[in-house]
Symmetry: C2
Subunit: 289 residues, 2 copies
């Protein structure tokens, strides 16, 4: 029984660690070959609790695999122009191989202009429209969180074709790209969000339920299907405790698999940041030769 | 009763005609101002029944509003390279303002390469990834069929926010872009397709059902919700008769609105081809000055 129960927990940290090990090997081999260490620029503006945790995780991930990382903080009241100027400086800096712009951006920032300002060649989170548009036919470079989820499901040998996939998020960074990627795998895809009426009616039918709403305990035991798979993207701080969007204790014994928070999707997202950085680095290095 | 029944039919032809009237006025005014007539290049390869009908409709549409159109036919066995060479020639031809590549392409053609080969500035059906990616935040330039559907729903004052929208298609040209556009309007979006199990269970819950499966009579009376809206994108030839994917006669008295085939989505798609051509034309003309 205990084994069954622990088998239900999808250990994102373990899978992330395994992938990071191969990334570390690759970084070493690239350094031996080209004498250069991949360098990631992280641009953060404003202060969001979830973002701060995520930022620390990315810095740690970079250290684990020997990628350089530098943070560029802009004050919360910085303008769209200031943010774009910083991105353009990083675009033209040959020592920078990947740029990651922390989302969500503060309310007053023009998201669309920021997305278009990043060089597609350094676009770690796949936010430039040209990279985003390529998701239609090809998931090679994909936004880090959805990509992390897809890799996690793949590593757990979870079939997607014809499955009922319910996504609770219609954000630019999670819900929309994930919907496209799931459709590329021929899943039947349902996208719910804050304007959805009767959320429970939808989540209860999910073979695979992915939640990225940013609302602690949004998904309770009576809202999930027995023996389904639950992917919890939420990262909320309640008091001193981190938790996801799913009532983990209530749900875990009903389902076939569930990602914990922390230790589920988070480490996978970070690992995809590293993977995308290496991908872009290799492309730039090869092009320069 | 008769009036109620005719009220149920969403007359795409009428709405298209009204929009085309304003496009015609705009073409005249642009011609007076710049002395140039917008010119659309239509590239077709292979022979698909639905495409031939659609092609004729586009040619007629262009004539209606005084846009020039030229067709470029490639034989069905033309290679990806040949197709791309043709597109590149049209890209650099200053007399061509819009390029429309007929979809679907023959099986052996590299769709992805073709999509990337078209100049984003002349991309009438919004298939270049950079235009496609912009759909995430902005529907200004959008693929013609989904855009036609959105305009049709808007003209009929059909609210989308929080509505259950079921799309039967996960194609590049209809299902996927339409899903993004519906999410931009805060609809709850469900995407079904050939791998979906129990299609009826999904379609029955739709407030708005959009079908683009290419299967005559796929959607029957027992598969739709009472008082819902049905948008039929299908264009199939059965014997000598054109029909959609919905059993029109069986369904029409149960629902609040339904598009006929022909005379529903088709004329709207054509009208969006014209509208996008004008949009691209204006942009090119202004940029050249």
């Amino acid at each position: 029984m205990l084994e069954r129960m622990s088998g239900r927990i999808i250990d994102g940290r373990k899978i992330a660690f395994e992938i990071q090990y191969t990334i570390k090997e690759e970084v070493s081999s690239l350094k031996r070959r080209y004498g250069i260490t991949p360098n990631l620029a992280i641009v953060a503006s404003g202060e969001v609790e979830g973002s701060k945790i995520y930022l620390r995780m990315i810095k740690n991930g970079c250290q684990n695999v020997n990628i350089y990382s530098n943070e560029y903080f802009l004050p919360g009241d910085a303008s769209t122009d200031e943010l774009i100027q910083l991105i353009q400086r990083l675009n033209s800096d040959k020592g920078v191989h990947g740029i990651l712009v922390e989302m969500p951006l503060p309310e007053h920032i023009g998201v669309k202009e920021v997305m278009e300002s990043i060089s597609p060649k350094k676009d770690v989170d796949c936010i430039h429209p040209i990279n985003y548009g390529r998701l239609l036919t090809d998931d090679a470079l994909a936004p880090c969180t959805p990509k992390g989820i897809m890799v996690l499901l793949d590593k757990k040998n979870i079939e997607l074709k014809g499955k009922e996939v319910v996504i609770v998020s219609h954000s630019i960074t999670v819900g929309k790209p994930l919907a496209l990627m799931m459709l590329n795998k021929d899943a039947t895809v349902h996208v719910c969000h804050i304007f959805t009426k009767n959320l429970k009616a939808h989540t209860k039918r999910a073979d695979i339920l992915i939640v990225a709403a940013g609302v602690p305990n949004l998904i309770k035991e009576d809202m999930v299907k027995r023996d389904s798979i639950i992917i919890d993207v939420g990262m909320n701080r309640v008091g001193k405790r981190l938790c996801g969007d799913v009532d983990f204790e209530g749900v875990k014994n009903k389902v076939d698999g569930i990602t914990p928070v922390p230790g589920g999707v988070g480490p996978m997202t970070v690992t995809m940041v590293l993977k995308n950085t290496i991908r872009l680095f290799k492309h730039q290095i090869v092009m320069q030769r």
